[in-house]
């Protein structure tokens, strides 16, 4: 496995995200060597509970990302509701108020494209269940920058639209079940 310590994992999910992420994130051991950025569509006016839920379920620390926060390996960062999440070259979180993209803020495309520029080949981008097309262009950007693109098999997805759109935009992506995605990530650690 190439450059396990220097890279990052970014995951995008929408409808059905909670269940899908529950089959992946708790499987990762406490010495997982990369940061994991998670972009989930959540209603803008809600305080997100994702970091609290997964903090309790996971061996890794889970936080809601704050602006200018340094990105550390072995931490799960959830994009806060109503902000786009971008990554600066020096590997810190940059939040943004810019307009919604595909009716979404956070936008999976925006976060993936930004992460692809920073991590290039050592980024793993993963698109899970969801009912819109967000993430498709982002996953394409991950693959174009030489990173690894994974998509949840639409067959088993709660909402297949988002994985299907991702596969269409990024045909070289590997299509895997949630269990296989979890094993793939465990493989990065070993």
């Amino acid at each position: 496995m190439m450059d396990a310590a220097g890279g990052a994992v970014i995951i995008g999910a929408s409808a059905g995200a909670l269940e899908a992420l529950s089959l992946i994130l708790p499987e990762l051991a406490s010495d997982f060597p990369r940061p994991i950025l998670v972009i989930v569509h959540v209603p803008p006016d809600k305080r997100s509970v994702l970091a609290a839920i997964f903090g309790a379920k996971c061996q890794l620390r889970a936080v809601e990302a704050e602006d200018k926060e340094p990105i550390e390996p072995g931490v799960i960062y959830f994009a806060p509701p109503d902000y786009h999440l971008l990554i600066e070259d020096e590997k810190t979180i940059a939040l943004s108020d810019e307009d919604q993209v595909l009716f979404s803020r956070p936008s999976i495309d925006v976060a993936f494209e930004s992460a692809a520029e920073v991590w290039g080949k050592s980024l793993t981008g993963i698109i899970l269940t969801g009912a819109n097309h967000d993430g498709a262009q982002g996953l394409r950007a991950v693959a174009d920058a030489g990173g690894t693109a994974l998509v949840q098999d639409p067959e088993g997805a709660y909402a297949p639209t988002m994985p299907e759109a991702a596969i269409a935009a990024c045909p070289q992506a590997r299509v895997l079940s949630l269990e296989s995605i979890a094993s793939y990530l465990q493989g990065i650690a070993s």
Partner: protein, 277 residues
């Protein structure tokens, strides 16, 4: 291949930002790169330039493009009483302190099109503090300032504003403060009686007075770390001991060089209080 291209684009962006500074004294050179890159790409595409360099050439020779570029470079998304719990915390926890002052100065730094300013004025009127307060509303974008000063907003946004105001513990009805027609609503000019609008840059200008409260929300997320430190340094200088600083919901002083100059006042709402020394 891709990497080489990206680097060239970053150079072009730096050159364009330099050009804007030298030509017009707008200084975006220390803005956070990830977002600037995205917005300049949008500008390049939507304005139909083949490269950022071509956009730079226009920016140097055609002053008419400046206001258009400013629209891309300054983000103008806000709503009245955005994050109602922030305003509720001000009402319940900060106002009791501010009441003890005979006169007050409040600085809305980076006020954009004015939504946050009007939220403050309405809140202070409801609490009976408006008369003794001067509100400074500052921004770098003249177009946004003019809009703030006009107090005119799309009617379709008023439902959200009203709901936010209610959730912020509003003691009056928001409709007391505006009249509507032609799909717009116009906020009452009496709300501007105590307001000073001014062009002010957190990048290049200095402090202009002692403030009891500075609200600067979702402005510094567009700054890099050094520039953020400069801005927070200004707030530190503008605030006397126990003065208040309010930031956006996902901003923090944790990573700032001035973290020690402030303490949490309402931690979950990002309201800080100036510590001594």
């Amino acid at each position: 291949m891709t990497e080489t291209f990206e680097k060239v684009e970053d150079i072009e962006i730096r050159l364009l930002l330099d050009a804007l500074y030298h030509r017009y004294h707008y200084d975006f050179r220390n803005y956070a790169m990830a977002s600037i890159r995205r917005r300049l790409r949008q500008a390049r595409e939507q304005l139909g330039y083949p490269t950022i360099s071509a956009l730079q050439e226009s920016a140097l020779h055609d002053p008419d493009i400046l206001p258009i570029l400013l629209r891309y470079l300054t983000v103008q998304v806000s709503e009245m009483f955005r994050d109602p719990s922030y305003f509720q915390a001000i009402r319940e926890k900060v106002i009791p302190h501010l009441r003890t002052y005979p006169s007050l100065k409040i600085w809305i730094a980076g006020c954009s099109s004015g939504e946050e300013l009007y939220s403050f004025v309405i809140l202070f009127r409801e609490e009976g503090l408006e008369e003794r307060t001067i509100f400074y509303a500052t921004d770098i974008n003249p177009e946004a300032l003019a809009q703030a000063e006009s107090g005119i907003y799309d009617l379709e946004r008023i439902r959200l504003f009203t709901e936010n105001h209610r959730r912020a513990g509003g003691k009056t009805s928001l409709s007391d403060y505006y009249h509507s027609g032609y799909n717009r609503c116009v906020f009452d000019k009496s709300l501007r009686r105590q307001v000073v609008f001014s062009d002010h840059s957190l990048v290049t200008d200095q402090v202009f007075g002692e403030m009891q409260f500075v609200s600067c929300r979702n402005v510094m997320i567009y700054f890099d770390r050094d520039l953020q430190d400069r801005a927070i340094g200004l707030f530190k200088d503008a605030l006397p001991r126990n003065g208040f600083l309010g930031l956006g919901a996902k901003e923090t002083l944790r990573f700032s060089a001035h973290a020690n100059a402030f303490r949490d006042f309402v931690r979950e709402e990002k309201i800080y209080q100036r510590a001594g020394a």
